[in-house]
Amino acid sequence: MSDQALRPQDLGIGDLFERVRDAVIVADAHTGRIVLWNSAATEIFGYSVPEALEMNVEELVPERLRERHRDGLARYRETGHGPYIDSHRLLELPAMRNTGEEIRIELSLSPVEPRYSVGDEEKRYALAIVRDITARKGTEEALRESEARFHALVQNALDIVMVTDAQGTIRYISPSIERVLGYRPEEMVGTSTAGYVHADDLERALGELAEAASRPGVHPVAVETRVRHKDGSWRHLEGIANNLLDDPVVGGMVFNHRDVTERKRAEDEVRRLNEDLENRVEERTARLETALAELRASEERHRLLVDNVEDYAIFMMDPNGRVLDWNVGAERIFGYREAEIVGESSSILFTPEDSRDGAPERELSKADKEGRAEDERWHVRKDGSTFWASGFVRPIRDDVGNLRGFAKVARDITERKRAEEALSQSEERYRAVVKQSTDGIYLVDGKTRRILETNPALQNMLGYSAQELQGMELHEIVAHDREDVEANIRRTLREGWRFIRERRYRRKDGSAVDVEVVASAIHYGGKRVICAAIRDITERKRAEEVMRETREAERRRIARDLHDDVLQDLSYTAAALGMIVLDAERTGLEDELQKAIDALRRAAQGLRAAVNDLRLEEERNRPFAELVRYLVEGNRARAQGYGIRLEVEEGFPATPFGYAGVELLRIIHEALTNVRRHSGAESVLVSLRGEGGYLIAEISDDGRGFELATASGVGLSSMRERAAALGGELEIESEAGQGTTVHLRVPLPEKG
């Protein structure tokens, strides 16, 4: 490389080369290699001579200009000419130092041709004389900027220029005053400045003026005052004053003013806003403090709450399950005091089995993974007793999500569990009873009359499956008319309980089954529901039938015996005595005999009534009203000193009532017997009528009556039982001295 370097003397510039203060650099136009580099170049660019001689001149050119540099160099290489190299002008360009710092250089370029050729090729070189002008450039620019700033200041910042004499009388004022105060300059010249100044500012303005006046020369004194606009408003001016009274050119006080009204207004506004803001901040702060205080209080309360909650055990654990704190609820529930348990593993609260099984760890790991672990389990108290607890564990995490521990909340629900178990056992028992019961049991909705549930016995009894029965209407399985079923439902709902001695249900195959029904109204699943148990009484009815037949046969036998033997003998005796009394005239015995005959006749009549009563069943196929008539007539025959009337409502059924009719007759008979024996009545009325599917019979007398409360006797209760057996009821109204009315109300018996 160095063999390609040139020496200055080769170029005929000898030691001048080293003495010049400008950098002298020669570069090979073909390769761009620096071939000559003086110490001034080193000073400017930083590269030493040996360094420079290894360099391409391009390295001194800033990156952004290298393209242009290369083009220029190429053109010169090929043509020996170029716009810069030929111009002999000083170029001002940026360049790069070895530090990477950009500097400003002044440059002149010249073509260089060696005196001799090196080899065959004709070489071209470029000579650059370079001066660092960075510092000069900086000063120039600073000056220019300063001038520009000053100019701007004069032009824009100082709006008004005013010159006054020593007394403050205006000698000159710039036209800009009109824009600010609305006066034309000529209006103001010759007037006193004091005339425009705000009264409140006058003293200060005079003081400022006096100060300025006391310091001649360019010693600016700041002035600030409010000045009246022509329209009466106030403008805020601020500026500087210079006492140039002694300046031969000026000879006055020079004021440079600017209108700062808007700025002042803005400042005021800002101040006001600041004040407002401060107020708000204060207010806000106060509020925040209040809120914080409340929060603290709330935290305190919360802490107190947690501490004092007695129904719940609440405690914290570290990530390993060691107890960190313990509230009173925990103490109460588990039996440990806080001091005893803090630091212990919470696994001691588990049963040994659960602990061995890893339940405590599982609970924590589940809480950690899922955010919550909830269960019901047995826990162990300090004294070793166990209780059923319901609770949950939650993980506690710090801001970045690291597990810091756990909180557990647990509650003793042993009682609840026991109650639940008892309930479920009771339900099971109940279900078992219902299921195994031989009585048919069903639940029917009190509103829709639809069957809700049935038991197997009912399903067997009626021949339906459970599925078929469910949802069926009650009417479909009860073999009575709808009105009658409805009446029973209503009455059960109203009275809560009802027993129906005989009812007929309908099987799936259409056949009927005789049952007795116990129904009660209950609340079930939020509804009014009737629970009914029905018992097949086919067998009972058969037995009853046999019993009745047996009884009837017995009665018939007794009646026949009484009638055929006793009554005949009595009749004979009465007749015989009747003849004897005719022969006993004037014997003095005739009266006694007649009394005996009368007694005998009454006895015979009583006996006959008894016989007829025993034979009532034989009369069951006679129309009921007619039987009542016979009964009344029979009683009339035996009535002593009172009358009996019978009233049968027009349209009363002219049908036989069968055995039910016989039972009804017995009730009426009983009532009439009571009247005869006890009432002392003068008249008795027996009435029969129908009323909405019911038969109403009333036996009322005008006798002495009785106190119901003290009334007793088999008669009343047997009458009531008979009425109930017929599905009806019997009421007795009586008061001492007010007579008695027996009111019998039974469903109208069907023909049978």
């Binding site: 009638h563 055929d564 009554l567 005949q568 003998d569 009595l570 009749s571 004979y572 009465a574 007749a575 015989a576 009747g578 003849m579 005719l582 006749r601 015979a604 009549q605 006959r608 016989v611 007829n612 034979r615 034989e618 009369e619 006679r622 007619e626 039987l627 016979y630």
Partner: protein, 124 residues
């Protein structure tokens, strides 16, 4: 003719009727069968008939009486006064029903009235 299975009562009535010259007891019977035989054999104006007989109900004789003694009246003299029996008696054509407990005088009066076919005043 008197039909009654209670022999004492029957004889008492017969003895009582015997005291009255216008009345004569032509036959007595203690059972339905006996009564049927007798009624076919005798002529009478009134049959005094009890209902409860050992071999049947007295009303069953009424038909026989109507055949053999078309003009005779039938007086039911019964102790029972049971509605069923009384109804049957009326249906079967009994002319009068009287309680056995009636006084002997009343019985005689009733028989006499039935026998003459005219109402008679009560005699005691």
């Amino acid at each position: 003719m008197l039909v009654d299975d209670h022999a004492d009562f029957r004889r008492l009535i017969a003895a009582w009727l015997h005291r009255h010259s216008d009345l004569e007891v032509v036959a007595e019977a203690g059972s339905l069968a006996e009564a049927r035989n007798r009624t076919a054999a005798v002529r009478c104006d009134v049959v005094v008939l009890d209902l409860g007989l050992p071999d049947g109900n007295g009303v069953d004789l009424i038909e026989d009486v109507r055949e053999s003694n078309a003009g005779a009246a039938v007086l039911i003299l019964s102790a029972s006064l049971h509605p069923t029996n009384l109804e049957r008696a009326t249906e079967a054509g009994a002319d009068e029903i009287l309680d056995k407990l009636a006084s002997p005088g009343e019985i005689v009066t009733t028989i006499r009235r039935l026998g003459t076919g005219e109402p008679t005043t009560r005699q005691e």
